[in-house]
Symmetry: C2
Subunit: 553 residues, 2 copies
């Protein structure tokens, strides 16, 4: 029943416009155009062709890269037009053969990453205020329309052929799981019966009905397409302020990879991770330097070398690699280290300035922290001697499933509260990690936030930040047992458990996408009716017809 | 990989205290005691023993019955003590062998029903204000502790042995899926790291730590147990008003079953359903009578024969049977019929009186409508000649995935708005069906609510209540095509799609339980690590050790 994946090289999460195979990123004043023209022969793996602008993980890594570059390298951009470079087709969605020949784990990870990329578009729209216009020059099906749904506005060409569609349920027996079902219901707020109809009509909906049902915001005949798109992009650009004039360049993040006695180590500048194949754990470390930019101007001058930007981009790359390329790793042991003064100073700067570059960096910190929250591996913060949990680094502890804090006078474990802990970096549920943690005891949030200066392990324990705070005598045994125990559990049960425990409190479109929609999609991605020998995903595009077992579950 | 179920007779959803095998329901003034003493030999199916107060569907049907009877037959009750009749064990949760030997579909349906029963406890607590005290006279594990979590307060005996626990993740490789993970995080608002620890410690947590972590509200030593429980029950009872003095008796709901050329028909007084095995559809009809009680006193005198109460209890039974006993049915065609005057009058009565019995009936209507919302089958409302969609019956249309409304002058299709449509019967998401439907166009809600008197198909279409409103010429073809199309889709994809489209708007603990927690549990219930040959659920209690595939997904 499980699909057999052909040999797959590790996924790389770095890209550069000069090397894009599938997108073209161009700029005209404050409007950028991101044009999709997927190279059918340039899939990440053998065995499928990326026809009709269908995509795989490689296409999405480039898209994610493009959005980051627009944010950091082109602060002049106020509107991004997302359009297609093919005739008649905007984008056919995720490649079916790729999905069919991917393992369950890969499918799930792929969907999570593509969901994060689309949420990244909405994040850019909400936060600095870069508006996105989906200019659908042809049919947008499945993931293609889901990409459009992540944009602020959707224009569809009115050529009697081009439609928007969700063919997943009728043709493939799976869901529009890249936010599609959630966004039609909760973002575009389309009537549920119309959502139902739309999601079952393979050929989709076009023309006036697409507008009437709010599936798209407007139609343009071919003859007025270029001008109309330009005009609309102009209006969107004018609806927001320019962020800046001169960007900074993002250099690629590339770890040095070295074999170790237990597995493999990946080292960046401020981040390392160390894979232990036998215990299926990874040690992940992030460090703050001793000195740092004192103000926005200095930070801007350092550009992509500014430590917090670089460290967070490294962490992001590390987390993506851990998820996709190290499936067997179940537990990540996180240590944060480095100068408390640097962390406090940097957080203060992130909180206070209105320099576009510093704000964009804070936006990136928020997104990377969310990526950690959403990673389907157990995270334990290991606060032993020499670790430092100040502000943004304390957020990383709060993103962990547990924290083990060494409570010993001889061990230097330092903590401090900064503005980073007061709501600068909300989780997907829309509230801060402290507020989520102390949902039942909101006073504990104010007590923590009122703490001044650095404090030690005992004080952290008192504030409720430690899950366990053993002394030096118990430390090793307790930790060893905890790690052994975690490693022995069913990885699936842990994934489900963590997905339920990490996001207490309010729900947002984002938590709905990862909680409800993704969980249902993962279920369907396991069902014989989708992936069995005669399942719809297996049979689509082959001479075989799907053959369902009709039990309703 | 799929478990083979031993032959299973259809599940019956009616029970009576005089025939309870697993519970004892006793009354002392305004305090009821519901004592669990499961008969190990009286499981619903062969092949497992209900040891240690573990439960199966039969145990839960009795529990649900008891809660209904307390509400209707004993309005004097203000507090219900839920306790155990065995020594040292309160309840060991759902029976493992039963789960292991059940099909995936049965497991999913079983969990949904038990979830609804537990939400029914919270509904009783919130609405008329019957308070529930879980008096844990011994260890409460898994579903046993989840039952306690549904109560307002939890007392645990302090005997050095008794604990509360979630052994699902560490021992069985599944989740505490009967609301457990959601309630510890979102109802008891326990810190996420403590939730994580608690959910991985098979032996559970007892004594002071259980109180400190808010897993229970209090401890009582054995010597003070009886008096202490009484005292706490007294306090809870005193915290709410008595509802009434004299109850009404609930008679069993039993359909007459007759074979038909296509399958089987089940007929109650106000409800029928008709199974068509070939097309895998069911026709479900509910009818309002020509005359009805004019006021609360008359309704009370009619007692359980009051039409709306009886009709809704019949609908509830029908929906439960459709879910559990007719798995192959994918589509339910719903028709509502009968006197608009009766419906309008009844809704007005349900809305206006403060008679406890009428209020309890309205509470039941709300719960039954929710059961329809949550049923994993497609529902189409078929508004053809002679159908009547007034108030509560219009809510049923709004609970459907689609509505087909015959727009023809010769066909009498009547609609009317009553207070039932204005928020009396909120969905699980906490808002009305109209508000959910028109999330994007809130004016449409006020327009609909402002409509006076009955109106026809064309007006209903104008108000946005019809998905499609064909005329008599197109009606048959359009309907036939729609039914054929739906019947051909993957039932799993439809389940996932509907679960995502039905609950736009806000999320509540209830939607989290059914959306997030249940979806993850369903996923895990399919995973080889749980149900495969060497899965944890398969191996538990056998000489075999679980053998996991450690990919994190």
């Amino acid at each position: 029943m499980a699909a057999t994946e052909t040999a797959r090289p590790p996924v790389q999460f770095q890209a550069h416009p000069s090397r894009y195979k599938h997108w073209k990123l161009t700029f005209a004043g404050d409007v950028a155009t991101l044009s999709m023209g997927v190279d059918p022969g340039a899939g990440e793996r053998e065995g499928y062709e990326l026809k009709l602008n269908s995509y795989d993980i490689g296409v999405d890594v480039e898209l994610n890269d493009a959005i980051q570059r627009i944010r950091f390298e082109h602060p002049e951009v106020r509107c991004v037009v997302v359009t297609g470079a093919l005739d008649r087709v905007f984008c056919a969605g995720a490649n079916i053969v790729m999905l069919r020949t991917s393992s369950h784990a890969f499918k799930v990870n792929f969907c999570k990453y593509t969901n994060e990329t689309r949420l990244g578009i909405e994040d850019a729209s909400a936060n600095p205020g870069v508006k996105f216009l989906a200019a659908l020059n042809g049919t947008a099906s499945g993931g293609g329309y889901e990409l459009a749904l992540a944009c602020d506005e959707i224009l569809l060409v009115d050529d009697r052929n081009s439609a928007v569609s969700f063919p997943e349920v009728p043709l493939l027996g799976v869901l529009p799981g890249t936010g599609g079902l959630t966004r039609i219901a909760d973002k575009r707020k389309i009537r549920r019966d119309r959502c139902d109809v739309f999601s079952t009509v393979a050929e989709g909906i076009k023309g006036k009905r697409a507008v009437e049902w709010n599936l798209v915001d407007g139609l343009l005949p071919l003859s007025k397409w270029n001008d109309g798109v330009k005009e609309r992009a102009r209006k969107l650009a004018d609806s927001v302020k320019a962020r800046g004039t001169q960007g900074i360049e993002l250099e690629a993040i590339q770890p040095v990879e070295t074999p170790t006695s237990k597995g493999r180590k990946f080292s960046y500048t401020y981040v390392d991770f160390d894979i232990d194949d036998e215990t299926r754990t990874a040690e992940l470390e992030i460090r703050a330097p001793d000195s740092c930019a004192e103000n926005a101007e200095q930070a801007f001058k350092e550009g992509n070398a500014w430590w917090i930007l670089r460290a967070m981009r490294e962490l992001d790359d590390a987390v993506c690699r851990l998820r996709m390329n190290h499936l067997d790793i179940g537990l990540v042991l996180l240590r944060c280290k480095g100068s408390a003064a640097t962390l406090a100073k940097t957080d203060a700067l992130l909180a206070s300035t209105d320099h576009w570059f510093v704000r964009e960096t804070a936006n990136l910190v928020r997104r990377v922290l969310k990526r950690v929250d959403l990673t389907a591996k157990s995270f334990y913060a290991i606060a032993d001697g020499g670790t430092s949990w100040v502000g943004t680094f304390l957020e990383l502890m709060l993103a962990c499933d547990r924290s083990y804090v060494l409570n010993d006078d001889d061990a230097k474990v330092q903590f401090a509260i900064t503005p980073a802990n007061g709501g600068m970096f909300p989780m997907s549920n829309g509230i801060s990690r402290l507020a989520t943690r102390f949902l039942g005891t909101p006073d504990a949030v104010s007590t923590a936030l009122a703490t001044k200066g650095t404090f030690d392990a005992a004080a952290a324990d008192e504030l409720g930040l430690a899950t366990f705070a053993p002394d030096a005598i118990d430390w090793e045994d307790e930790l060893r047992l905890a790690l052994e125990e975690r490693a022995a559990f069913s990885p699936d049960a842990l994934t489900g458990m963590e997905a339920n425990l990490r996001f207490a409190g309010p729900e947002t479109m984002e938590t709905k996408i990862f909680g409800r929609l993704s969980a249902w999609q993962n279920w369907i991605f396991q069902r014989p009716n989708a992936v069995g020998e005669r399942g719809a995903l297996t049979c689509y595009g082959t001479p075989h017809k799907a053959d369902f077992r009709f039990e309703r579950t």
